[in-house]
């Protein structure tokens, strides 16, 4: 009788196929070689993207997950391969990105002996993963992967790590994949309490100056339509967090801008004037609230949130509505009176005008000689498609691009929000592009961040992913320099960079590349990039000492937002 058993390594691949995984972003090595060997036979069912560093693999998986809404998969070997995933794991955890990371591990008898390339990656990653496990027996591989996918994608999504010993990969076992549908101890979707909904509706119906803050929870909960219906009926002004961008079309008449340290003037200022603050799928990050002691103290706070641990964590609320906002928002909308808050909305518009004259026009239509980051983004906006995806790195360019990029549709925002990981954008843009080859992906990066993962040019070359990379080069670690200027008496301690010839590097990777140093060439070069068929690298040399305003300095209240 033919032996129906297969190797554990093949079970790994068949399990990923059973979960409809499209891509594995990874890097081979000794302890994961059996899985790579098995993968060789499944190239028609699952594609592998060979990044140039494991950190690139996990950021690419993050970009893929954020755009597709599916679970991103990455794979690495033991030891350094596994530890190189740690930054991405921490990033995915804080930004609620669903990931399954598979790492090879030394054979079971060698565990704990400090064997070659052995690290306790389960221990390393324990605080940063939603769940992790070490698998030492072949029969446990498929159940662990099934459980991992269920945990990664359900409730508040997050990263999962599955560490598989080499002997388990090599052992023979039966393949019988049973998707995980539930875990006794894990309740990802709390039931919405209708009493809380009724209480919240009563408060909102009596409010004179209600104000909505929405975050990524709307995108994760696929509640974009429900948010729009809520706003249309209630007439309440709405502002978004960094990761909430795109959940609502910015042309919506009640959209009033972006929150936070470098967000818009009006939404920050007026947080301390509303009488009811309705937070939907956002977690009151310190970059949004500024000084908590002086944050929205006059307002009754209503918090719609999936994660119970976020309720009353930073901001005490009058009413909490625990559950998926896709479920809770319609229940709340149903109980609301039709309303319009035009007078209150016009207060936002007045402050918006103030920001336009003090900051926006200087950024977008500069009169000074040097190029501004804002005018580059203005042209990107002019030539982008409506559903274009903006992937940004971390720093000044990130905030400028976020401020001036116009988000029209959901899942168009990919950035490292919570962790602020430099080097994120280049691989994340690659993953974002592979998630949807029909959408335009624009990667905006600074000269500091690009050099942290610049080797991923190689992956873009190999995959020929048509990402448009816009490097805003000011020869500085710009955001740190800005803080040094404002708060450290202009002591620019180790923030100025002697940079390489980026164009030569891009061309060495067979990428079409252009460099713009003069305003006269900017518009046409951006236009050329946006229609180019294939990857394109555009370096724009921008003013060295440009700052990002508005700004709420650390420790200040939201109403102390500075325009200069």
């Amino acid at each position: 009788m033919k032996d129906s058993r297969i190797r554990g390594a093949e079970i790994v691949i068949k399990s990923l196929v059973a979960e409809n995984s499209e891509y594995i972003f990874g890097y081979p090595g000794g302890a994961i070689m059996p899985v790579y060997d098995a993968l060789y036979d499944y190239a028609d069912q699952i594609k592998h993207v060979l990044t140039r560093h494991e950190q690139g693999a996990i950021h690419a998986a993050q970009g893929y997950a954020r755009v597709s809404g599916k679970v991103g998969v990455c794979m690495a070997t033991s030891g350094p391969g596994a530890t190189n995933l740690i930054t991405g794991i921490a990033d995915a955890m804080i930004d609620s990105t669903p990931l399954v990371c598979i790492t090879g591990q030394v054979a079971s008898p060698l565990l704990g002996t400090d064997a070659f390339q052995e690290t306790d990656v389960v221990g390393f990653s324990m605080p940063g993963t939603k769940w992790n496990i070490q698998v030492r027996r072949v029969e446990d591989i498929a159940p662990a992967i099934a459980k991992g996918f269920h945990i990664a994608r359900s409730g508040r999504p997050g990263p999962v790590l599955i560490d598989i010993t080499k002997d388990a990969q090599n052992a023979l076992g039966e393949f019988n994949y049973v998707p995980c549908l539930g875990i006794r101890s894990y309740r990802p979707y709390p039931k919405v309490n209708e009493n809380s909904v009724a209480k919240a509706a009563e408060i909102i119906n009596q409010a004179k100056k209600p104000y909505v803050l929405y975050g990524q929870g709307v995108v994760i909960g696929k509640a974009e339509e429900e948010l729009k219906a809520f706003l249309d009926k209630s007439g309440i002004p709405a502002a978004c967090t960094l990761l909430g961008s795109g959940a609502l079309d910015e042309d919506h008449p009640q959209y009033v801008g972006k929150l936070g340290m470098h967000g818009n003037y009006a939404p920050n200022m007026l947080t301390n004037q509303c009488d009811v603050l309705i937070a939907i799928g956002m977690r009151f990050d310190d970059r949004v609230t500024g000084d908590l002691k002086r944050y929205a103290k006059q307002a009754k706070v209503i918090h719609l949130e999936l994660d119970n641990a976020e309720i009353n964590k930073n901001v005490k609320c009058e009413v909490s509505i625990l559950g998926n906002c896709k479920e809770s928002l319609p229940l709340l909308t149903e109980k609301l009176k039709e309303n319009s808050h035009q007078d209150w909305l016009s207060e936002f518009r007045k402050l918006e005008e103030k920001e336009k004259s003090a900051v926006v026009s200087l950024d977008l239509l500069p009169t000074k000689t040097g190029l501004t980051m804002g005018e580059v983004i203005r042209y990107v906006n002019d030539f982008k498609k409506d559903d274009a995806i903006l992937v940004t790195d971390v720093g000044q360019h990130q905030m400028i691009a976020w401020r001036y990029f116009k988000y029209k549709t959901t899942r168009t925002q990919v950035t490292s929000g919570g962790l602020g990981t430099m080097g994120f954008s280049l691989p994340a843009a690659l993953g974002a592009q592979l998630a949807d080859l029909n959408r335009q992906v624009i990667c905006v990066v600074g000269d500091g961040g690009i050099q942290m993962t610049i080797q991923e040019f190689g992956t873009i070359m190999q995959t020929q992913s048509p990402v448009k990379i816009v490097l805003l080069n000011n020869n500085f670690l710009g955001m740190v320099r800005q803080w040094q200027q404002l708060f450290f008496d202009k002591r620019y301690s180790f923030t100025e960079l002697d940079n390489p010839d980026f164009i030569k590097i891009a061309e060495a990777y067979n990428m079409k590349a252009s460099k713009v140093t003069e305003r006269d060439n900017l518009r046409d070069t951006v236009a050329e990039m946006m229609v180019h068929d294939g990857p394109y690298f555009l370096e724009v040399v921008v003013e060295k000492e440009d700052n990002v305003f508005p700004m709420i300095p650390t420790g200040c209240s939201v109403e102390e937002v500075r325009l200069s």
Partner: protein, 167 residues
């Protein structure tokens, strides 16, 4: 700052204790005592943790521990909401065993659980304050060793873990 008892019901999963204690480490809250055991439900373990902190902090800790995938449910109680005991063992040289010591043992409802050639071991169960009081007295009897367990506790509220599991 008050003393609280946190009761966690968990799956019997490798590393669960590590995951739970990481929550305390990250928030800088010291664990005064910790015990782990089986519960009456098959496969469900209970971890009892005693902490001294603010109620606000303990609420956050309970919510964070409940986020751990293999934690079924987490509760916190003030001292008057739990029935709890600790066990203390005192090792006394045999030469100290005299009528005075026997009187102390009776007074404190303690008992000798082992008598060896050179020492005796006295056991006492009770609250920390009681076992500590006995320790202070036994110092006059040349005590050689002292060990106290973490708190074992059951809640006074009548809710049970199976009600949660069956919901």
């Amino acid at each position: 700052m008050n003393r609280y008892t946190i009761s966690l019901f968990t799956e019997n999963f490798i590393g669960i204790l590590n995951r739970v204690t990481l929550i305390f480490t990250r928030r800088g809250v010291n664990i005064d005592a910790l015990t782990a055991s089986e519960s009456k439900e098959d496969g469900v373990h209970r971890i009892t943790i005693e902490v001294t902190t603010t109620e606000e902090q303990v609420i956050q800790i309970v919510k964070q521990t409940e986020k751990i995938i293999d934690v079924i449910k987490s509760f916190y109680y003030k001292d008057d909401e739990v029935v709890y005991q600790e066990i203390a063992l005192y090792k006394i040289p045999i030469s100290s065993l005299d009528p005075g010591l026997e009187k102390v043992i009776r007074q404190y409802n303690a008992r000798i659980i082992s008598a060896e050639k050179e020492f005796v071991v006295i056991e006492m169960t009770g609250h920390k304050e009681d076992t500590k009081a006995l320790l202070e007295i036994l110092k006059d009897f040349s005590i050689l060793e002292f060990a106290r367990s973490g708190r074992v506790a059951v809640a006074k509220p009548m809710g049970t873990i199976e009600q949660y599991l069956n919901n």
